[in-house]
């Protein structure tokens, strides 16, 4: 299942779609660890592909009434008279609004509205059971009526909380694509374009990509590649499929496993990915990739007929590094020079191993 997704990331004609699948996987989290059902997790992954760039309401409605989310946040155990507030809380706190924009009463009343939305034990599919639904009056965000779960989502993204929802999601997507903690003015601009685009995610995405700040140095240097992005990029540039590169052997050591976000708030960013074990795992992955790259398709080829500088440029170019630092370039040149003075045979494999471990390649 992870090969399916990572190979798709590698070969997709529209990589942005898979990039958004990864975004939603880390934002509207469910984990195989708790769900324990491959089919449900696969369906959620597909859902992010189908709805990940459309209206945010459709995405939220669909993911909330699908087995993976219902099981991960216990809404399948949320029944009239015995409410479980887990999903109702995270929907507002982590998915749409953020802390401070709703009350505990809202949380409790939303949980009542979500009662009865569960999973059929036989089919493993979403099922609404009226006999488990609390159909009494509920007061949610000041409005008293017989709320039902999906109406809560509609209210959050079209009603009074709309502006906060647009800001919250704009800031989160900007942080994912450019750099963390965007300023308030930038977030407001993006949020208003998001709303003007009918709360369609592609409208928000377009607004982000069109911003001059998106091309700034701060954005180009702002993010460390997640392990999923790292292994996909290495495979794409070397032309190796998962079946050769075997990212599943090392990606856990890098700190990220597809389908297993660590908790409901998802993966953090940047320093979260920088650690000694992550380096060891990337080193091990890179060793595997260089061996298979030479055997399978040898895109770099023998560099020994090239000048030292050209050999290093070829390796950097293979991995798509177009603006290497002089520190990196000089270090790799020194490596090639040393190899040519000693073993020679290790020059090509050394360059294939080292280039993905440079800071340039590990930045998004």
């Amino acid at each position: 299942m992870s090969h399916f997704w990572l190979d798709r990331c590698r070969t997709s004609p529209a990589p942005i779609v898979e990039k958004m699948v990864l975004f939603w996987h880390g934002h509207l989290c469910s984990s195989m660890d708790k769900v324990g059902d491959h089919q449900a997790m696969f369906e959620q992954n597909q859902l992010f592909r189908i709805h990940g760039l459309g209206p945010v309401e459709t995405l939220l409605q669909t993911v909330s009434t699908q087995a993976a989310m219902l099981e991960y946040l216990d809404n399948d155990a949320n029944v009239a008279g015995r409410p479980n507030e887990n999903f109702a809380r995270e929907l507002m706190e982590l998915f749409v609004l953020g802390v401070g924009f709703y009350s505990e009463d809202d949380e409790r009343e939303s949980a009542r509205a979500w009662t009865g939305h569960g999973v059929n034990r036989d089919t493993g599919q979403y099922e609404f059971r009226n006999d488990r639904h609390d159909s009494g009056l509920k007061t949610f965000m000041g409005i008293t009526r017989n709320w039902n779960g999906p109406e809560i989502i509609t209210h959050l993204v079209t009603g009074a909380p709309l502006i906060q929802a647009s800001r919250f999601l704009a800031a989160k997507l900007w942080s994912y694509l450019a750099y963390p903690n965007p300023g308030a003015a930038l977030v407001d601009d993006l949020a208003s374009e998001f709303r003007a685009g009918g709360m369609r995610i592609d409208a928000l995405l377009r607004a982000i990509l069109m911003r001059p700040e998106f091309l700034s140095t701060e954005a180009r240097q702002g993010l460390v590649r997640t392990p999923i992005e790292f292994v996909v990029a290495a495979m794409r540039h070397t032309g190796l499929p998962c079946s050769e590169a075997r990212p599943e052997w090392t990606i856990e050591g890098m700190g990220q496993q597809p389908y297993y976000p660590p908790n409901v708030s998802g993966w953090r960013q940047n320093r979260y990915w920088i650690s000694a074990p992550a380096v060891w795992a990337k080193s091990s992955f890179s060793s595997r990739v260089r061996r298979r790259a030479i055997e399978v398709n040898d895109r770099l080829g023998d560099t020994q007929s090239l000048s030292v500088n050209a050999a290093v440029d070829a390796a950097l170019g293979l991995f798509g590094i177009d603006q290497p630092s002089s520190t990196t370039t000089n270090s790799l040149r020194q490596f090639v020079t040393e190899e040519r003075a000693s073993t020679r045979w290790a020059e090509q494999s050394g360059l294939l191993y080292l280039t993905p471990l440079t800071p340039e390649f590990q930045l998004a």
């Binding site: 702002g222 920088i274 380096v279 630092s325 520190t327 073993t343």
Partner: protein, 313 residues
Amino acid sequence: MTDSTRSVLASLSSPAPTDLRPLSRRYFLQATAAGSSTDGVLVVVTMAGGNDSINTVVPINDSAYVSRRSGLAIPFASTLALDAARGLHPSLPTVKAQWDLGNVAVIEGVGHPSPDLSHFTSMARVMQGSASGGVPTPGWLGRAGDLLGGTDNPFVGVHFGASVPLVMAGQSSQAIAVPERPSGLFRSTTSSVDQRQQQALARIGGSATGLGVMGDELARRGAEAFVVANDLAGSYAAATPAGRLAQPMTLAARFVNANLGVRVVRLLYGDFDHHAEQAAEHADRLAEFDAGLAAFLAALAPAHHRRTVVLTT
């Protein structure tokens, strides 16, 4: 990163390294340990699946125990008596010997006040070290690492396994995950090609990259990680005793002996989740634990005995 590591990296970035021995902080700087040799060390053996505590520390004068446990009750006569009320499972002679020396404490009846019968929830709370649940926070060992190591000690938390578990992930500190057997970077000998590759990365990590804060940090940590691995590799060089827990426990003791600054070591050991053959399986697991403890005590240098606590959960 410590100043000492920084200066190691600085020295490595000089233009023409001629000595190709493995990079090691201790080699370059003659044992500048990150922690003082009097700081306490906690070794946590997490008994995966949940240990049967009442069959580990048996209430030897309790008829309710016998009637409730029936066939699984440990015969009182076979236990290793701690006092008038309690006896250890017969598979734990090393624990008993340590008890007699006054080195063992038993804490019974630990749990959280509102169990909801969800194994998932209970584990989350145990790992979080919080009875309330709620918003995820770093695990209790991650918080310990933050407190003890901050960002300056790459050895503060060590876990045996494929990746750092959530329970050890801190906010400011980072634990490391290491293998139980010498493999990859933890082999004590590295080829000259490997060393030249590591030196290439050390050069990149040894000066500013011009790639911003994250780029510099990736470069610096990237170089440091190989120094850390080489420092640990020495502990893998000598053979370790056989036994499922004896092997990592021996390594744990060597890490402490090496004075690298290790403050928390965690081993996940099991499986204690027995759905059949409980009596025999449990006895085997406890015997392995006992052998692991014996191996740990044998490997731990006497100077470190008073600063080291082994905790099982």
